[in-house]
Symmetry: D2
Subunit: 337 residues, 4 copies
């Protein structure tokens, strides 16, 4: 970490600062210039609060040289993390497709969709049981029943299941869930992150609507700091001024994250765009960008089930898309798993 | 709600749509044009999911005419909500200043600051016991001890206390807290909102970094739907591309919210800007904009306590600011309470 | 266009509004409800200023049903526009790669790069002669000499050239330029748009950093309203809160624009990301998303020419990328042209 | 400027970099660490392109210590710039209100408004003659006639006039205009900035919708580099995700800019919010924030002139606002001029 101190800083303030830094167990390299003094901090700077230092009156600027995340950092773990779920591998050269309905609605619905996505080649089943909704008056999911139905669909098809946890009080219900999803709105619900860190289960961590990639990695770090290194990152669109799509899918996140971390990165083209007809092009774009997988909404009857159909593919559209994906994968050096 | 249906919509799809709408208990006014058909929906449209309808293939556009919030809506509750805490009134013509340190650090610190802010005229004491931090390696607050120290400061000075809740599992510790704060990162932690709704205590609800004002009102609605109408809204800066301030304080939110809702609106100039020297001008700007109050960070020794001092005023600066605020208040039709 | 009028609107205001609308040559369908009155406007609403109406006191909301652009609108021109430049086709099923250095630096540089990109399969040569720079102290390009050097490279290799116009006073120098580029910062320099509209030359119109897709189409409309329909749209990244990339490449723009307009859409992966190692993955992602082409920075010696090298590929990297692009194209139904 | 070089940088690359920096006339202080080498650059670094260096492979990070603007920099010009226009002072302890209609519509309109705003205490008259409009089909202003009418209003009332220039080809028409406005969309039209720099007239430079404060200062620097130091900065709202206001007024810009530059800063509450009823609260907020003035839209008959009225005050509302402004000014240490 580099700290640029203004020359308006007086002796006492300067000594205070230096002592405080040393109190954090860090060494200081000092270099005095005409207009400012540059301090190079050597040691474990991950505990230093950059926002706070940078806003002190006597500080011109602060810059981190080392990233504030350790467990998620590719520098210290150059090999790709590969997570195994029900015999499938996520990460590395593997490409994974998770598919299923936005919400679990009924036994017949979830089983029918599960069979359809399995047939088309999906390797995991998704489905919402606890649904975080902007409005308290909107449908909040089938809750515990939803999870039971997902488990039935798993039994029927053999597909491992992924579903979202919205409260630490529901954790008991998730003991047979294969991958626990932490949604975008809870990406910085740090108490929830700590708890899922303790489960030891693979966690699908979605990027928050207004969170930087560094904050996403710091949230992964919360989970990993509890000893759970099975974290799958998921880009699902960020909030910008553009209104023609629900959110703006930030696909550059894929190569950037690949450079910074060893964790797998998957893309959610359904929620990011909010429109079914954008799902296929953005899925192929994700493959091109080097993503490790996709999480796609598929519904058995989008026309009928009005409330879910908007951003969902039907099984035929999904099967066509799967065909295209599998043709492109070898060109970008990936295997379908 | 108005739904514009494309003329490419076939008979069957159209009938499906109409039946689905009627199934929600709504009446439909239909008006057919050359390129599209306009449906006016009459009834309680707050349960209708606008995102989902708008992304159906046969839909050109959807527009809400009625707001999706009821309890928070000024149309149905034209009178300002006034919340009483320890004999002080928040909302209406009253102006409130909540002040105190970012984190509770020690008994002497919190009591010293409490006395100083009381003397300068603050009517409530703030202080963080549970601190949500981006990094798992950063100081997370004194937790239960922090709340005990706040209660000691309350006993000493008579100032009611405001402190942040980060997990529903900590609720028991908050039974003597006067106002429970829900932080920006938890604005859409809906399970937390429901629980604080059940407490019946005044809730200080901070706007999320990337949340629209409508989403803020929907989150207030979550609390109010549980029967708790004592919600204080707080603007604390939104995330934009500008980097010279930590966040961009959206002061226009004040007159906009005043128009849409009867709930009190206060401003946090400390977190939004992240720099102590911006706190005074932005506090006076908040008064000009018509805010119902301020929540300001004050520290007894910002120079020494490096980690807190960055965005905090010292007691002298705070007292000077309080003087200016009180001179402007009558010009904008407010009373200091 | 639909206008929702509040019932607080009095007789006189209402009549004013209705007369004003009729004065614009529009017909009105009126539908009175309990809380508001809905006016459906029929006719050419492209002249109606939606911002202005929507902010009138008596107006609840306004919504456009028809898009405000005509010439660029796919509804009125369902066939893809195909633009021919030097025997190459841009748009439709064709895929085009424009390559070359950020700035023209010298005769040997531009000719060497032109030969290299031609050999790797690029069909057009790009190179900056007039450079818009944030700082007045930065290198502003070789100007007229730069254009002469581009024309020499064209003569040598047969590649048509693309270069940016920054002032209408330079138009004379562009008479032999094949495609005139309008840069992101000038996307709403309407006087410049009108002038390039009069040239009849193909125009490469870059999206502004903070401009919506609808504004991009409106700027295309400025050019087309002058009788010039040869407009190529270019997505080059938008400004968001994320700082790990220079801008956020909005790839969803491709399928969205394909739906709204018949104009070709190309992607600039070099400026949007600002980092050479992101160019290849984002180029392949662009192909997956269905783009009509790419504009890529290539430099003969990025290591040496420090000032240009940052976001440029070298000829070998570019040739490798071209190979991958050409393998994916048939899968997405495109021909390399 | 500080450059952090990765230790993966080889001897040859490192020497290249060092030579290139020295070639820019800069001295280098080198400090080698375990993971990286820090280079401190001493000298005039304003010509160094930070984006380009920072994206080189061997570079970990780059940070400017000195700002890249000189003429606009308060460090080198600690005294506030005060600009005199028709006997009125802008900047320093003075507070200025510029008022008038969005567009000049007719002789009677502009003269009537000019008289009304003068009576209420405005010191300058604004009015649009050349109107930059998103749509080519929207009213583009009365152009040269508009300027003639403004000059008549000036003759009648003695108020100096402010109007927007949209093309360097119109400069001749602006010779009697007192302050030339450069609009938000042209903030980075660098050719226009250079030309207005040559006029020697006071320039009102509006911040672009997506431009940082540093970019605003760099654009001021373009004008000042031509020898014209009479630049008035204007914040008029930035583009964010919030849709309840047309743009988000960034009032923190006022104290931030006051710290960075000696140039006057005024606020446009009309365009930023787009709604008349937000103009008064945001004007008072601007006074509180320490702004040097306001530019406010006032129309003689907003109800009638539908197209202009949306964000305009009528003369009575404006007069009431002026009264409140003048009561607050002494509290924030300003004089009405």
């Amino acid at each position: 970490m580099i700290i640029v101190v203004k020359n308006s800083c007086d002796e006492k303030q300067y000594n205070n600062l230096v002592e405080w830094i040393k109190g954090l167990g860090l060494e200081i390299h000092e270099s005095r210039g005409t207009h400012s003094t540059v301090l190079g901090l050597v040691g474990d700077t991950s505990k230093v609060d950059i926002d706070l230092i940078s806003s002190l009156d006597v500080i011109e600027q602060v810059q981190r040289v080392q990233e504030p995340y350790k467990n998620a950092n590719r520098k210290f773990h150059p090999e790709d993390t590969i997570i195994e779920v029900g015999g499938h591998k996520i990460g590395g050269d593997n490409f994974t497709v998770i598919a299923g309905p936005c919400s679990v609605e009924s036994e017949s619905q979830i089983i029918e969709v599960a069979k359809a996505v399995k047939q088309a080649g999906a390797t995991l089943l998704r489905g919402g049981a606890f649904k975080p909704r902007t409005s308290p008056y909107a449908f909040q999911g089938l809750k515990d029943t939803g999870i039971e139905l997902l488990l039935k669909a798993k039994k029927e098809t053999g597909l491992p299941i992924v579903t979202e946890l919205t409260s630490i009080n529901h954790l008991d219900l998730f003991k047979d869930v294969d991958i626990i999803q932490v949604g975008a709105r809870n990406m910085q619900n740090f108490e929830l992150l700590k708890e899922v860190g303790k489960t030891g289960k693979p966690i699908l961590l979605k990027r928050g609507l207004a969170n930087t990639l560094q904050e996403l990695l710091m949230s992964a770090e919360y989970i990993m700091a509890e000893g759970n290194c099975q974290v799958i990152l998921c880009e699902r669109g960020i909030r910008t001024f553009e209104t023609m799509t629900r959110n703006t899918l930030d696909l550059s996140a894929v190569p950037v994250l690949k450079d910074k971390t060893h964790l797998p990165i998957i893309i959610d083209p359904s929620h990011s765009t909010g429109v079914a007809k954008l799902v296929s092009p953005m899925s192929l774009a994700s493959v091109g960008a080097g993503a490790d997988g996709l999480i796609i909404e598929v519904h058995n009857d989008p026309q009928h089930a009005l409330c879910d159909g908007a951003q969902s593919l039907n099984p035929e559209q999904f099967a066509t898309l799967m065909g295209k994906i599998q043709t492109i994968l070898p060109i970008v050096g990936k295997l379908y798993n």
